[in-house]
Amino acid sequence: MQISIIFKALRASKIKTALIYLSLSVTLGSIFLITSISQGIISMYSNMLQNDGDIIVTQAKISDTFFSNVNISLLQKIKKIDGVKNISALIVGAAPVNTLPIVAIYGVSHNLFQKYQLIWGRYPKKGEVIVGQSIANRLGNSKSLTISDSAFRVSGVFQSSIGFENGGIIMPLQSAQKIFHKSASLFLINSNLNKKNTTLIKKIQAVSSKIDVKSTQSFLKHYNQFNIIKKSSFAISFIAFLMGLIAIGSIMSITVIQRKDEFGIMKALGISSKKIVSFVILEGVIIGLAAFVTAYLFSNLILILIKHTDTLQGYVNGTIDFWLVLSLFFTTLAITILGSLLPAYQALKIDPATLIQRGN
């Protein structure tokens, strides 16, 4: 029995093949998309914070950059600590801008300005902002903006590879303090010490009990918002996995019952159980691999479309990396093999003696 027979069997039951192919494509496509988009959001935000400092200071017990509120007066104290090379304050917020309901706003201390690459103009002074390239386009490149009821002048447009920045607005810290009613969301610190900065972290922590000091890396690792994103993306993927499993299992077991005679004759002719089981499983795996390729191409297409959807302001972004492809490949094998096990077992259980006509 050769592999070509499996392809003939698949072609013979076109509807079954198409149904399994479609449901697996949807399953794998949703896992591709949900995982790459949530990974994209996490890595964009991580990169943004990591680029600005290896130590992060947030409000004690508030492990969220949006809700954190740190007293700016602590900045001068921390700056004096040995090992602190550079410290900047940041307010992270979101506000309506002109007609757009929500735009990311960053209030930053002056020493952070130079990291934004200007396409034109200059860094903002009081009452001014610089605008990320993609949001500038969305706003029709207008020179004056209303951000949460206050008027601002656009002093320049910058470019960033990070979607949250390229789709955001940068203003001096003082302006953001007024809009968001806090002195700072967080401090980002560049230390002289490249690797082990635990002692430095302890020293900074000693400055006040109202702050939490962590390495940016460990902060991001335990960042609650990320965990929520990761967990929900995993839950959705897992549900998609189960749906795929149920789809392939039920469609295949129905067809195995319809193909009773076919498996019965195979058994009567002495084709081994191992071959019959692999026959059924390989049918599933072959459809699964076709669905895997389809889902990969389709998801990439959707991600490109998302990238070019202006209304998303560049905040949603995802790329399918090698590891995702690899793990989805094994997921495909798992779904198809697990999903075909029950149908394969049913095929095995068919009694070839039923082919002999009874009562004649």
């Binding site: 009694d351 003696a353 009874r358 004649n360």
Partner: protein
């Protein structure tokens, strides 16, 4: 080459075979006749290893079939089947159907079989493209492809007209000599059964020699 001793078979609580014993001679054509429901098919299933008897011993090629380690391989190597409903796989052409369980690569033998059975010019056709008589000849080729020692045929002519039925029996008679194979046919086609070397009659689960 096949011995069955005191075969009894019970379905549920109905005993359908009572102490059936018989022996088959090498390279002979044996017919088992009898009315519908007399137990022919049950007996054939048991003799061909597809069904375990409630009691009794079946030995094929001097081996008690209970002691055969791998029954699938044993069937594949030694036993061929022809059923009333040919059970050809519809999505496979004639060649693929015949070679479905082929355990060797002797294509000259395959070719000679096609010619012998007069199906060489339909080799690439599909089961739904050929006649009933042709289908049964394809099924016989499938039964012969692994050069089995014994072929079991259950009502092989049940769906054929008299001309095709005669052809099938002639073919069975012929292959017992040319292929050196033992053939057992369960049938209620008394007329064609006459061409068999040995005829048994089943009557309500009892077996006896006919005539």
């Amino acid at each position: 080459m096949l011995h069955a001793e005191n075969i009894t078979h019970i379905y549920g609580n109905e005993e359908v075979l009572h102490n059936v014993s018989l022996s088959l001679k090498k390279s002979s054509l044996t017919a088992i006749i009898g009315e519908s429901g007399s137990g022919k098919s049950t007996l054939l299933s048991i003799l061909s290893t597809l069904l375990q008897p409630t009691s009794g011993v079946v030995s094929i090629l001097e081996t008690n079939i209970k002691n055969i380690q791998n029954i699938d391989t044993f069937r594949n190597n030694n036993i061929g089947f022809v059923f009333q409903f040919h059970y050809l796989i519809n999505y496979l052409n004639v060649i693929d159907n015949i070679t479905l369980a082929m355990n060797h690569k002797d294509n000259t033998y395959l070719k000679s079989l096609l010619i012998k059975l007069g199906i060489e010019n339909i080799a690439n056709k599909y089961p739904y493209e050929i006649s009933g008589g042709q289908k049964q000849r394809v099924a016989i080729a499938r039964a012969l492809i692994n050069k089995p020692k014994i072929i079991f045929a259950d009502e092989p002519t049940g769906n054929l007209d008299s001309k095709n039925s005669k052809n099938v029996f002639d073919l069975f008679k012929n292959i017992t000599q040319t292929e050196d194979v033992t053939v057992v046919v369960a049938t209620h086609d008394l007329q064609n059964a006459q061409s068999a070397n040995i005829i048994y009659e089943m009557n309500d689960g009892h077996i006896s020699n006919y005539n």
